[in-house]
């Protein structure tokens, strides 16, 4: 079972602090980055599970856009935000397809096994027949 999130889902649950400029909020950044490509993966260069997920996509013929959070100057706050979004113990890997949050490794694999991942990828334009 995978989670479908609307693009602006977080705005209902997250209270914007009063005086924050648009660019610095990590959640906004994440949303912007996630919407930029069909398949977006937040990763860390040292994370082996992220490597596994990359291999999964490549094996399927998908070319995801990968953001290495540990190479980002404001990676720490990104990491914190990602952790909250995933609702779990690890911030990475975290996958967005078509701008929508799919989830971490277990969600992606469950989606693939249940056969819902490929249609989702096709819908987002990341996979062709």
């Amino acid at each position: 079972m995978h989670n479908y999130y609307e693009t602006g889902w977080w705005s209902s649950s997250y209270n914007y602090p009063a005086k924050r400029s648009v660019g610095t909020d990590p959640f906004e950044r994440i949303e912007r980055m996630a919407s930029a490509s069909a398949v977006v993966m937040f990763s860390m260069s040292t994370c082996c599970m992220c490597h596994a997920l990359k291999r999964l996509f490549c094996g399927m013929g998908v070319n995801p856009t990968v953001y290495e959070v540990d190479e980002d100057p404001r990676g720490n706050e990104l990491e914190r935000a990602l952790k909250r979004l995933s609702g779990g113990t690890s911030a990475v890997p975290l996958v967005f397809i078509g701008g929508k949050l799919v989830g971490a490794m277990d969600s992606v694999m469950a989606s693939h096994i249940s056969g819902t991942l490929v249609p989702l990828l096709k819908e987002a334009g990341a996979l062709w027949l």
């Binding site: 082996c48 599970m49 596994a52 094996g59 399927m60 694999m109 469950a110 693939h112 096994i113 249940s114």
Partner: protein
């Protein structure tokens, strides 16, 4: 009896050290029957040797602790009795002779004397002490006493007591006619005694080692037997070597899960044969799926406490371990096995099954590559740790190791999702048959492990014309084959 009392007292003093050294021979037995062994010996000399051996052992352990009282009645290892064959005659001949030697410096001769007197008189130390001090000393050749650290007469190893007797004995001894030879004789005696003492010590030590070795091999055999029996019982449950508590707990839970599995399978079998309605069958099938969910949950808990136990497959039987992938079965292998067993399937179902096989294969490949990268990273960390910051590298390595749990969790997640997807693709009846097939398959794999473990080791497959071997098992096989050929 006094000696018995004393013996026990000595045992209590030296008890810990004895247990520590695991002396297997009849030490305690002898201790409680000092008189029996005493009396049963063929002569005072023999007793003396026994005594001396006991004292040697005492000395080896207690290290000449002067405060201890290793009475002659203490240790009496039966196994070493035959080690002193040359004693009796010499000893008896020299017994009546008086002598001035009583080693004041070395308590050996003194002790020899004392014990000698003691054996002759009474096994009561205090009394013997008294009597020995009043008697002339036998010549120092009674090395029966040699090698004994504690002059027991009276068993007291306390120096004052030891000194008293020698001094007293020296008195009368020095008055004997061979005054000039006395010193020389005494020196020679002391040398002999020292030599014999060390020989005895060596013998005792070797004897200890051999007994311990025998004991060790026995223990190993027992352990091996217990392990192989464990294989029959729990399907390899607790048959491992060093199991952590987390691993042991999981093994127990897994054994219980296997019993439940057996029950579920019987239920499925009877339900299929009874041609129950789909609704009833669905309940049973869903119950079986929940049963599988349970083992994955248990494995998740176990992965937190002991991931190595899971990932090395110590919880499974050897045959299962042979096919192990990331701490469990490989989903694509299971699908491959099922495809042939699940006929008839609709075309849509066939496509669904093949799709499932493909996606599980891709997921397995991805996880395997991720694990491979983890291993490579670990290798680099461990190899590149310099002496200066080795602790830091160890900490980094530990952090990397903790990722193993994630991989086992994801692999179990994959297995669980595969089973759920199978349930979705198949009808209720097909799913019932499917899970029955899965259960039977792994049951056979476990049975294979047990059979393998119990197979006769030397048996070879023999043709009539093949070479002969000399093993009895093989001969038995051949003879049984001949019997069958008559039919």
């Amino acid at each position: 009896m006094a000696s018995q009392r004393l013996g026990e007292a000595a045992l209590s003093e030296s008890g810990p050290s004895h247990h520590h050294h695991h002396i297997p021979y009849s030490l305690p037995h002898m201790l409680h029957h000092p008189n029996t062994s005493f009396i049963n010996q063929e002569g005072s000399a023999f007793d003396f040797g026994e005594l001396e051996e006991a004292i040697v052992l005492q000395g080896v352990k207690i290290n000449n602790d002067e405060t201890k009282q290793p009475l002659y009645t203490t240790v009496r290892p039966a196994a070493t009795l035959e080690m002193f064959p040359s004693w009796p005659m010499r000893f008896q001949q020299h017994t009546p002779r008086g002598s001035s030697k009583s080693g004041e410096e070395s308590t050996d001769s003194g002790s020899a004397v004392n014990t000698l007197s003691t054996t002759r008189l009474e096994p009561d130390s205090p009394i013997s002490r008294k009597t020995s001090s009043d008697h002339r000393l036998p010549p120092p050749q009674m090395d029966t006493g040699s090698g004994v650290d504690s002059p027991r007469t009276g068993g007291s190893q306390t120096q004052p007591a030891a000194k008293q007797a020698p001094e007293k004995r020296r008195g009368p001894g020095s008055n004997s006619e061979k005054v000039l030879d006395a010193k020389t004789l005494r020196r020679l005696a002391q040398n002999r005694e020292a030599a014999r003492k060390s020989r005895l010590r060596k013998k005792a030590y070797v004897q200890q080692l051999e007994s311990s070795r025998i004991r060790l091999t026995q223990l190993e055999q027992d352990l091996q037997r217990a392990r192989s029996q464990g294989l029959f019982l729990g399907g390899g449950g607790v048959a491992g070597g060093n199991i952590s508590s987390g691993g042991a707990i999981f093994d127990m839970e897994y054994a219980r899960w296997l019993e439940d599995d057996h029950r579920h399978m019987s239920e499925l079998r009877t339900a299929l044969q009874a041609h129950l309605s789909d609704g009833d069958l669905r309940v049973i099938v869903d119950g079986y799926i929940a049963h599988y969910d349970e083992i994955f949950r248990l494995k998740g808990v176990a992965a937190k406490s002991d991931v190595f136990h899971l990932i090395t497959g110590m919880w499974t039987t050897p045959a299962e371990r042979c096919f192990l992938w990331m701490g469990g079965f490989r989903p694509s292998d299971l699908i491959k096995m099922l495809i042939t067993q699940l006929d008839p399937l609709t075309e849509q179902q066939v496509m669904g099954i093949y799709g499932l096989q493909q996606s599980s294969q891709q997921a397995e490949e991805a996880l395997s590559q991720g694990l491979e990268q983890l291993q490579q990273s670990l290798i680099d960390t461990i190899a590149n740790g310099s002496i200066n910051d080795s602790m830091h590298h160890m900490a980094v390595a530990l952090g990397k190791l903790s990722n193993l749990e994630g991989f086992v969790r994801q692999a179990d997640n994959l297995r669980q999702q595969t089973l759920h997807q199978l349930r979705r693709i198949l009808t209720v009846r097909q799913a019932a048959r499917c899970f029955l097939v899965i259960g039977e398959y792994y049951g056979r794999l476990r049975a294979l492990s047990s059979l393998w473990a119990s197979r006769p080791r030397e048996t070879l497959i023999v043709d009539d014309s093949s070479c002969q071997t000399t093993t009895t098992d093989l001969q038995m096989v051949q003879s049984s084959q001949n019997q069958f050929s008559n039919f």
